[in-house]
């Protein structure tokens, strides 16, 4: 299909009146990759996407597509196509005319554009419905129409604004797989905005986590999951316990912090210099109910809550100044030695499971 383009953001800002929605973010999205912008609502991810698409003006900085600065180009001139959250299908047109819309705008003849649109609809397995209106389709079918309408422009990059949020959970997983398959077969750059960690993990080659208008971390999903860069990322991904405190030692590649409640915790890694607060992250599913073999890699506490989640059991533990420390045990490990709320336990983890977090 069409050639695909690299997308580069060079200290791009979006300022609405007095509020800054996006703070000078810089990012390179390699050509042909699946990139997910992930973050809570209001973090600036949708504004960023809309600036790439051209539906929002860039306040400062440059948006580069391929080798071209596209700041001042109209959406259709950029070689991007956008898929809207609610799909924005034209209710008064049938599927063929919806998909053929951009061709009609270009002045392609009726016969030709209808033929091309029907071909695209065939590709999306919507052939039986070509004469229907969007309102007569299910959510998943509407989404495929929206995809067909976006792809018929032969874009270099497809921008998707929370494309799966309107679907029910079962369909969501199914459409997620279809999106991934489509992206792989087209080899096109996809930029996908979502607030679901699971979606980002499942789809992305590159996950960009945003918070408060800034990029917290941009990395492959595995790295985001295993080595979150900041306390926000660790907390948002939910895979780690974040322990924050005052740095007390930073020697031999081992950083130690002291939590207000008294406990000291260590992790191997370089702590950022000259900061008031240091943070350490510990994988929730690597926590053991054993006494620590080395100081700084465990504590004694009290179980405050137990949730049986089926394959795993989630324990909430209080102690050593930590309000809510989560341990996720496999069901076999838990039922070999069950505990209940109120029990005093020792908690520990292997030194390799603790990492030092940075602050931005």
């Amino acid at each position: 299909m069409a050639k695909t383009a690299e997308i580069e953001l060079a200290s791009v800002s979006k300022i609405y009146g007095t509020t800054t929605a996006v703070h000078a973010i810089s990012l390179k999205i390699p050509a042909g990759s699946y990139c997910c912008f992930l973050g809570p609502s209001g973090c600036g991810k949708t504004s960023t996407l809309r600036m790439i698409a051209g539906h929002e003006s860039v306040s400062e900085g440059d948006v580069v597509l391929g080798n071209k600065v596209v700041n001042d180009l109209a959406p259709a001139k950029r070689g991007t196509a956008m898929m809207f959250q609610s799909y924005a299908l034209f209710p008064h047109l049938d599927l063929v005319d919806n998909v053929a819309f951009s061709l009609k705008m270009k002045g392609v003849g009726k016969e030709e554009r209808r033929r091309e649109a029907i071909e695209m609809l065939k590709l999306m397995q919507l052939e039986p419905y070509v004469n229907r209106r969007p309102a007569q389709l299910s959510g998943g079918q509407q989404q495929r129409v929206a995809l067909a309408r976006a792809l018929i422009t032969k874009p270099q990059a497809l921008l998707l604004d929370e494309p799966l949020s309107a679907l029910d959970p079962f369909l969501k997983i199914q459409m997620r797989a279809e999106l991934k398959k489509l992206q792989a077969s087209l080899g096109m750059t996809f930029v996908h905005v979502t607030h679901s960690q699971e979606e980002a993990m499942a789809l992305a080659d590159l996950v960009v986590i945003m918070n408060d208008g800034r990029i917290e971390q941009a990395a492959p999903p595995r790295e985001i999951f295993e080595r979150p860069a900041t306390p926000f990322v660790a907390g948002f991904m939910g895979s780690h316990n974040v322990i924050s405190g005052r740095p007390v030692a930073n020697a031999e590649g081992k950083a130690t912090i002291e939590v207000p409640g008294g406990g000291q915790f260590s992790a191997f890694g370089r702590a950022p210099e000259g900061q008031e607060i240091g943070s350490i992250a510990v994988r929730t599913d690597r926590v053991l109910l054993e006494e620590a073999t080395e100081p700084g890699f465990g504590f004694a506490g009290v179980i405050s809550n137990v949730e049986d989640l089926g394959a795993t059991v989630k324990l909430s533990i209080q102690g050593a100044g930590l309000e809510d420390f989560t341990a996720i045990l496999g069901d076999t490990a838990y039922f070999a030695k069950p505990v209940k709320p109120g029990d005093a336990v020792h908690v520990s983890w292997a030194p390799a499971e603790a990492i030092v977090l940075g602050h931005i």
Partner: protein, 296 residues
């Protein structure tokens, strides 16, 4: 019914299940029946009566219709009324659409939208007659426009066709009825999802193409409702035509009024029935073209 059950301890009063529904429907039924259906029925009956210069005679004659439909004057009057309806419809649709479009898509804040919308409705706080009559000092032979034209030397003589002409009739009708076009179109436009406009731009549409391919097609139901308002109002109008044309132009309603002042009630009734059928046919035609169900 429950009264027959002897083991009931407390005597309970039960309404039959069907009664509340009928009671709820009753007020509207009475109003529509008493003020719409009954008078219509009376007009229909009277249209078949005989009459002379002094009174009507209950009868079943059809010459009221044959005289109405057989007269060249009637056809000319109907054509004239339809001409007014068509011109006024076209102008109010044009103005109404652009006003509504501006309000819905180019006024950003909702508060400003509401303020401007209310400004549009302010003239409607005065009576129709007063708004119509206030055109006379503007358009008259010694009115504002003519005085200005003569004084600036653009024309040497006052322009005659400004007042008491078809132009004046159309102008006054447009003034009176444009709001009936603005309101339903504005209502429809406000319901258009703004992301549709973005999606159209994303597909490469220019602003004009967005207008012709997305906004106008989606505004059709509002246009149809506005059209029904304007067409029925113009078809039934007699005061505007009488005042603004100075009696030089005729409309169907004006013809009926004249017949009634000559006590020719059955003839007027027959005329009314013909007009009713014509207007209903027009509305049916509009509804065939545009589906307005979503707007109701």
């Amino acid at each position: 019914m429950s009264g027959s059950r002897t083991n009931d301890t407390g005597r309970q009063f039960h309404l039959p299940a069907w009664l509340p529904a009928y009671l709820q429907a009753a007020p509207l039924t009475i109003i529509l029946g008493g003020f719409l259906l009954l008078p219509l029925l009376m007009i229909a009956i009277v249209s078949f009566w005989d009459y002379d210069f002094a009174r009507m005679y209950p009868d079943f004659v059809t010459f009221n219709y044959s005289e109405t439909l057989g007269s060249w004057i009637t056809w000319k009057t109907y054509l004239n009324t339809l001409k007014f309806a068509a011109i006024v419809w076209a102008i109010t649709l044009f103005i109404g659409f652009w006003v509504a479009y501006f309000l819905a898509f180019h006024v950003r804040s909702t508060a400003m939208q509401m303020v401007l919308f209310l400004v549009c409705t302010v003239p409607f706080l005065t009576s129709n007659i007063i708004r119509m009559i206030s055109w006379i000092p503007v358009l008259g032979r010694n009115g504002l426009i003519n005085t200005a034209l003569v004084n600036t030397g653009i024309t040497t003589e006052p322009v005659e066709w400004l007042l008491y002409s078809d132009f004046a009739v159309v102008l006054a009708m447009v003034h009176l009825y444009t709001l009936f076009m603005v309101v339903p179109i504005f209502n429809t436009l406000m319901r258009i999802d703004k992301t549709l406009v973005e999606a159209a731009h994303d597909a490469g549409a220019t602003t004009w193409q967005v207008l012709t391919n997305v906004i106008v097609p989606l505004a059709k139901p509002g246009m149809a409702i506005g059209t029904i308002f304007v067409v029925t109002l113009v078809m039934a109008d007699f005061s505007t035509v009488q005042v603004m044309s100075g009696g030089q132009s005729a409309s169907v309603a004006l013809m009926m009024k004249n017949q009634m002042s000559l006590l020719q009630y059955p003839a007027a009734a027959a005329n009314a029935m013909v007009l009713l059928v014509l207007v209903l046919l027009l509305v049916a035609a509009i509804l065939r073209v545009v589906d307005i169900r979503k707007e109701l």
